[in-house]
Structure formats: structure tokens, C-alpha cells
Symmetry: C2
Subunit: 246 residues, 2 copies
């Protein structure tokens, strides 16, 4: 199937809500950049790409502790800060001060959009509400948007429901705040799990292919997306705007 062919008529929705890490921004390059910067200053010899990949791999397990009710709601800074300790220990990094660790945790606020993200969002925004719907907390998303100039109409977050995606509550709270029926909202993400849960909650879905999310070595072997169940399959945000006829 060719990209974009899945849809004949653009869906009649009011809002597009976007997953952020990996979908809008390139978390891997940004956190590696800040890790290398700090490493150079503190004379730390570590493979920052491996470090950051390992940090990201702690992401789902750390949220699972909240999802499973093992711990009460904690935002991503707290979860990232916890898993950073584990990682520093595993990679044998001892030279960081508390301030360094806080700054490095803040790297997840300082991420750059993929090249198509801002041009695509600007186009999409002319027709739809464009909002985040991320597991990142509101302040993280606001910091990121302000630094990178991401033109959100609204910053929505799992934090507003107290439940991390893919919990249904995260999607339904966003829908409630948008004050529309679930099928007037389209979830845009590069991850099947997110889209499947959004679909189960009654939202429309668009998959955007982000083959470089895990870096060039893990580049998904073709430009073809996986066998997504999403209604729309787009190469990037500009392609999504074209498919939606914006």
C-alpha cells in the first residue's frame, strides 16, 4: 500500500492531538547532545548514545509502576530522575553533582522537532486545533514548545487525567477538555500502541512514520511503515497535511 492511500475523504474532526516523544520531536539526538555536552565538561567517558537508548528503555517500565498502582502519579521528571540513577550506576558514572543530574533530566524538555514538524503543524493548525497528548507533563511540554517554537493551540497531557497512556482515561480526559465527541478528535502518533488505545477510546487515528526515532543504526529497513491499523498513514506532518487536504 502506498502512503496516504488509505484515506479517500479527509475525516471530519475538530482537533488533532499529537504524541510528542518520537512523533513530534527527536528525543534521541537531543538527549545525546546534552549528555555529550555534560560529559565533556565533567570529563566522563561514556557512550552517550547507548546511555540514552538505555534511559529511554526504562521509560515504559517506569510508567508501569504508576499504571499498576505501585506508586501514585509522578511526572516524567521524577521518573526520568529515578531511572537516571540506575543508569549512572550501570554505566559507572560517578562524577555528576545533583545539579548536573537535574540539568541532564531537563534534557527531555530541550528536544528539537523533526524537520517537517513545524511546517506541518503550521499548516494543520490553519484548519484544526493542534494539541499535544503526551505522557510528558504540562510543564515539560510547555518548556519544549517555548524553546522550539512549536505552535500548539493547546497543551494536553496524560498528567491532566493522572493516568499515563495507553490508559483510556488519558484519551478521554483530552476529549472532555476539547468538549467534543471522541470521534471529533484524531490521535497522531508514530507508535501503534498509542493509536490502538486511542482507537479503542473512540478517537480517530493517524500513523506517522518516524524511521529515525531510534537512530540511524536502527533505521527501519524500508521507508514503508509497519502494518498499522490507523485510518491514515503518513510519511511526516507535511504529508499528513496533504492527506487531510489542508
Amino acid at each position: 500500500m502506498c502512503l496516504g492511500e488509505s484515506l479517500m475523504t479527509p475525516p471530519d474532526v475538530d482537533a488533532l492531538v499529537f504524541d510528542v516523544f518520537g512523533t513530534v520531536v527527536d528525543w534521541r539526538s537531543g538527549v545525546i547532545r546534552d549528555g555529550e555536552k555534560l560529559g565533556a565538561e565533567r570529563d566522563i567517558d561514556v557512550d552517550w548514545a547507548a546511555f540514552v537508548d538505555a534511559w529511554r528503555e526504562e521509560y515504559q517500565p517506569s510508567m508501569d509502576r504508576v499504571r499498576d498502582g505501585e506508586i501514585p502519579w509522578r511526572n516524567l521528571d521524577a521518573l526520568h530522575r529515578d531511572s537516571l540513577e540506575t543508569l549512572l550506576d550501570r554505566f559507572g558514572v560517578e562524577a555528576l553533582t545533583e545539579t548536573d543530574k537535574e540539568w541532564l533530566t531537563g534534557a527531555w524538555h530541550r528536544l528539537d522537532p523533526w524537520p517537517d514538524s513545524l511546517p506541518g503543524l503550521r499548516r494543520l493548525r490553519s484548519e484544526y486545533f493542534v494539541a499535544t497528548l503526551s505522557n510528558g507533563h504540562v510543564r515539560l511540554l510547555a518548556d519544549m514548545a517555548k524553546r522550539a517554537g512549536i505552535p500548539w493551540d493547546l497543551i494536553l497531557s496524560a498528567e491532566l487525567s493522572g493516568h499515563y497512556k495507553p490508559a483510556e482515561e488519558a484519551y478521554l480526559r483530552a476529549v472532555e477538555l476539547l468538549d467534543v465527541a471522541p470521534d471529533r478528535v484524531m490521535m497522531v502518533a508514530a507508535h501503534e500502541m498509542d493509536l490502538e488505545a486511542a482507537s479503542e477510546a473512540g478517537l480517530r487515528t493517524a500513523y506517522v512514520h518516524r524511521p529515525l526515532e531510534w537512530g540511524p543504526d536502527e533505521y527501519r529497513s524500508t521507508n514503508e511503515p509497519p502494518d498499522s491499523t490507523a485510518e491514515i498513514i503518513a510519511d511526516n506532518f507535511v504529508d499528513l497535511a496533504k492527506i487531510l487536504d489542508v
Copy 2:
């Protein structure tokens, strides 16, 4: 006291949160405009200025029903829609359809900023997070911002706490989402009640004088603001930016 003299050094805050109705936008002119438009189409002879003032006067009592726990949380559309029925009855207006009533209720989403609001916010935004903190619900504020091009970093609302201002929860939820201490946030409003409650919740405060909020006939007799307890007293948003040295 001259405006602006109250402050020597700009306060060290991360975010300015703004009351919206009356402070950022001129609700009265906007709702009168839409009332007159609908009235002309439906051949209704009513004094729309008086009608809109009466509608606004139902605002606090309608929220009191939520504040006092008489009814569960309902957003402003629902409260406005209820009080509209009372007003239509009182003013003897019978010609409106359900669709008309919904459209007229939507007038509260279609309000224009005061002339200084956008230039002032653009300046303030270069230094601070600028966010709403209104009793208007998220969707209403998002509609208003999109229509008028109001450059919010974030849309925060009493809705996110389930408590209408001046309940402490409304302010503290905003502070929690901004992920800072209360004194890193400054409430900006044209209403003493709002500022006093924000101050009691630990926020910093700035009063902005809006002598035309209730129209030219009610024009506050001088350009001097009332005896506000706010830390900063500003003529308008551009003046606020100047006082804050932005």
C-alpha cells in the same frame, strides 16, 4: 499614587497567568455585537446592552451554585445557557430557536482582546510563560485564542481543578501544572476578588485597570485604579510589560 510606582524591582517569576473576561477581552462589546446581529436577523426588539449586562450579572450567582456544591461541576457554556433562558424570559424574547440559543451562548467564545492585549502579551511572552487562568473552560478559551490570535503558551482553566475561582484549588492546580512554587507565578487580573484569592494562595499579583469593562456609561470616573492590594498596578498590558522591564 502613579501607576507602576508600586514596584521597584520586577518580581522574579516564571509565569504570568491571566484572568480573561474583562482583563484580556472585552466581553461586553462582543456579546452585544452578536446579540444585535441575531436580533436583526430574527427581528427582535431588545436593548442588547442591557440584556448582556444582565447576562453577565447572572455569572457569579450561576458559579455560586457550583461553588456551594448545589450542583456538580458544569462549564460556562452550560451555566450561560441556563441563565440565557432566564434572561430571554425576563426580556420577553420568544423568537429564538435552539440553534439560535446555542449560537448566542457561543458569543462568549467570540470575544475581542482590548487593543493593548495582544501587543502586551507578545512582549510579556518573550520573558515569561503567559497562560490563561480563567473560569472559562478549556475549549472556550481555545476557541477564543484561535479566533483572536492570542499567543498563549498554555491554556489553564478553573476547569482543570473542578473549582471556580476564587476557590484556592483553581490557583493551586495552575501552580501545580506549572511545576513551580506559588510565588513563581503572578496572577494578572482587573478584579480585586481574583487577585486577593490568588495572593492568599501564595501567588504574586498584578492589577490591570479596565475602566471600560462595563461600557462607557459605567466608565470608572477617573483613570485611577481602585485601592488595589496588588503588588503591581498597570494601566494595560503594554504598561505591565514596561513595569516588568520586558
